[in-house]
């Protein structure tokens, strides 16, 4: 899932303090799972903003809505009536949802309510870890299911580098060395022969280096 974390309340207040009406819009997908922008977080932010405006003696209206997805126009158009009745939208979705919201409602200022962090998963309740950087050409089959692009600080494809020490990365003792994990995993799988094979230069044109990307699937395209 896409992992996000809520923006500091002070930053959001600074952005919306002069508005007369605000719609806080959540998303029922990734940001709900990572507890950053689902209906619960929408309720908390809206409540805090209502208190702020009351304390300031302002009559600003703060509404709440949570869409099934903000990264799909078919769900965004269902919210048109609500969105149109407010002066500004705070999108609690990831950067994708926030941008789709801004594109769909071109005349409506859209303020992000979260900082979008990465694609990852939950290690435990309240702890999420990065697992994928969407490089566009997956190497996981060769590395025992552990991604050196997302989990190695240097994105080294034939590691480990000299900064690996006792299974940890030189950037922090809290960060596992991805290549140590890969070696451990390949050993456990009995596939150390794979480790001996050099991974050739990676084609980074499918990564962000090639500019903004698009996926077109002609067989389902209408």
């Amino acid at each position: 899932m896409i992992v996000a974390k809520g923006k500091p309340l002070e930053e959001i207040i600074e952005a919306v303090k002069d508005c007369d009406s605000i719609l806080v819009a959540g998303c029922n997908e990734c940001v709900t799972v990572c507890e950053a922008g689902g209906s619960k977080e929408v309720g908390i932010l809206a409540s805090a903003l209502r208190l702020y405006f009351l304390n300031q003696g302002k009559k600003t209206q703060v509404g709440e809505i949570t869409l099934q997805r903000q990264c799909d126009r078919e769900y965004l158009i269902q919210a048109r009536e609500s969105v149109e009745s407010y002066q500004m939208v705070i999108s609690m979705a990831c950067g994708v949802g926030c941008q789709f919201m801004a594109e769909e409602f071109a005349n409506k200022p859209v303020q992000p309510g979260v900082n979008t962090m990465f694609m990852g998963g939950a290690l435990e309740r309240g702890v999420w870890s990065e697992r994928c950087q969407g490089c566009g050409s997956c190497l996981l089959a060769r590395t025992g299911g552990i991604c050196p692009v997302a989990r190695c600080a240097k994105r080294v494809l034939n590691g480990p580098c000299g900064g690996s020490s006792n299974g940890k990365c030189e950037i922090s003792k809290d960060v596992d060395c991805a290549w140590q994990l890969i070696v451990n995993r390949l050993k456990a799988l009995g596939r150390m022969d794979d480790y001996e094979q050099i991974i050739p230069l990676k084609d980074w044109s499918s990564d962000r280096a090639g500019g903004p990307r698009k996926v077109v699937k002609e067989e389902v395209r209408q």
Partner: protein
Amino acid sequence: MRLNYPAHVRVVRVPCTGKVDLIHILRAFEKGADGVYLVGCMEGSCFYEQGNFRARKRVEHAQRLLEAVGTGGQRVQMYNLSSGEAPLFAQYAREMSERIMALGPNPAKLAMDVRQGKAA
């Protein structure tokens, strides 16, 4: 044990302080409460193991949010006691009541009263 505590303290019973979420605390202030405090079991004595620890974290989060919106973080507090400590329950009620009296009314409530023409 006929103990007294301030009459304006309204007790909301929950199965565990771990049931109390951030939104409950914020809504209480939206509805005009001048202060909110949670009284949980002693730390380490939670029947559900983590309930009172979770409540404490939520109270701390509420304090930060209320500070940011201008209501004031001191209006929220977490207390712990055992079920055999009724005098302590009354003491916490007086302590919180005195703190809120010193802070004055919830500014959001005052604003709502002005809006509804109830201001003195």
